[in-house]
Structure formats: structure tokens, C-alpha cells
Symmetry: C2
Subunit: 134 residues, 2 copies
Amino acid sequence: MKNENHEVLLEQKGLKKTKVRMALLQHFMGLDHAQSYSDLQTALAKEVDKSTLYRNLTSFEQAGIIHRINDHSGVSKYAFGESPIQGNEHAHFVCECCETVYCMEGLAPLQLKVPKGFKTKKVQTIIRGICAAC
Amino acid sequence: MKNENHEVLLEQKGLKKTKVRMALLQHFMGLDHAQSYSDLQTALAKEVDKSTLYRNLTSFEQAGIIHRINDHSGVSKYAFGESPIQGNEHAHFVCECCETVYCMEGLAPLQLKVPKGFKTKKVQTIIRGICAAC
DNA sequence: TTTATAAATGCAACTAAGTTGCATTTATAT
DNA sequence: ATATAAATGCAACTTAGTTGCATTTATAAA
Ligand SMILES: [Mn+2]
Ligand SMILES: [Mn+2]
Ligand SMILES: [Zn+2]
Ligand SMILES: [Zn+2]
């Protein structure tokens, strides 16, 4: 009985393999778009405690397993993969129709000329439009 | 006793010239960076009611007097000038040091190539870095 | 296999941002 | 001067997320 991908990843990151984390990570790994807290609560079915879920999202984020996305909706969304900040920069696409948030893996942020005295560290881009599914 | 700029603007937009609105708009017009609800509450000194302030921000936004900015901090910020959406597109600069948010009037939105099936409507850009004052 | 231990979980209580309903006040038009 | 519709203030509410603490559980050492 060899370990699954999500189990290996938890081991690699030095995180305990708990029931909640296994389910959560397995869910993230089979998905191509971002998830909100309530998306996750629904998907996990077996009613995980709110703070447990939020704390795990924070742990995963700190470990570089997932990244947090601010789509300007007022609720944070999370997607599999390390943060765009750490060398994995990419834009996010928000569908105006279904509200789904996608990571645009290919799209690197373009550098913009800022005024004298200002210094750019990173650029975060949100593309708003209609997705392929809509 | 001729009307001030902010009074003229309120008239133009068909908004009643109330005490709160006069103070609020005057404040916005003398500023080069964005303001949060609590920045405004502090600046207005004479303790305006929370819902009154929020309702006026909404009115100003709808009238195109100010625009709302999401700087990913979790609190909305507002700046003088109509929304970047209506033909006035510009990026926003967030200082990592002092948290100040500036409108980068010169910086037009960057067009990025999205995958087949996706359709871009608008692009919102946040530049993170160090501002001229820091 | 048992046991020790540190970390994860669940629960309740809390915070912060923003919204809503409603009674009262005020700006503007007549 | 008065009528009217809109703005204000207050309290109560909502939603997203956080914190403290007692209990449970994953892991590793004995
Ligand atoms: Mn992403
Ligand atoms: Mn702006
Ligand atoms: Zn869609
Ligand atoms: Zn600064």
C-alpha cells in the first residue's frame, strides 16, 4: 500500500497527515480553479470546523502547497501550487459570469514604468472576463 | 460668495450639498492617495456615522466622483476621480512600507493573451513596492 | 506495543468591515 | 414659509475570518 501523491507532499513539507489535511489536499490536487472557504466546506462534505479549515489553509499556504488569491469579491480563494510571489508569477482570470477563478499559468506580469522615487517589487494582475465554460 | 470646487461638483452630479458630503469631498480633492473608511473617519474629525459615511462613498462612486480600490489588504480604499473601468484605466501602487495606495494615472492596462475560449473584458493591476516617500 | 509529546482539532466567543431598517432631520424646490 | 424627498444617526445584523482553550490524535521514542 504505497503512499498517494497528496500524502507524499504532506511528508515532504513536514506536515502531519491528518484526515482533514488529506481530504483537503486531495481535493485541491484534482482541481483546475480556485476555491473559497465555503467551496471547500461544501466539497469536504464531512463538516470540518471553520477554524480548523482556515488554519490548514494558512499552513498549506506557508508551506507553499497552495496560494491565496484575492479576486476582489471580498472572499479569499485558494489554488493548488506555490505562491506567484516566489518565482511562479502568473495572472488570475475571474469569470464575470460564473465567478470562477483560474490561474493563468502562462501569463507573466509585464513590468510597468512607475514614477521617479517609486520602486516596483511585484505586480499582481486580475483579468476579468468570460471563461471558456460560460 | 462664489461656490468652491467641491460644491460645484456636487451640483453638477445632482447630489445634495450636505455637511458630510462637503467635508468628505473637500478632503478627497486635496489628496494624492487613496483613503480607507477609517482614514476618512479620522480625517473628518467631527465623528460621522458609519453608515452615513459608507452610503456617501457609495453615492460618490456611483456618481463617478471617486473610485473604489481593492489593494488586497481586506479593506476598500477610495480615491478622487472616476472609476478606471469607464475609460480612465490605470494601475494602483501599494507601498509595502507605509501601505499608502496611489493611482498611477499614466499606467494603462496591459493586455495579456488568455487561453482559447476565454474573453478578456478588463484588466486590474496592483503594483507592490516602495513609494517615493519611504 | 505502549507511552510521551507536540501539534491538530472542535467549540465558543470575539473582531472588523460593511449593510439594513427605521425614525428623525435637513436641503432644496415651490 | 412650507412640502417633500433625500440624508442622517442609531441599533441591530451579516459575513469573513481569528483567538483562547480544552480535548484528541499523529508521530516517534522507549
Ligand atoms: Mn494562481
Ligand atoms: Mn485610482
Ligand atoms: Zn465562467
Ligand atoms: Zn510608502
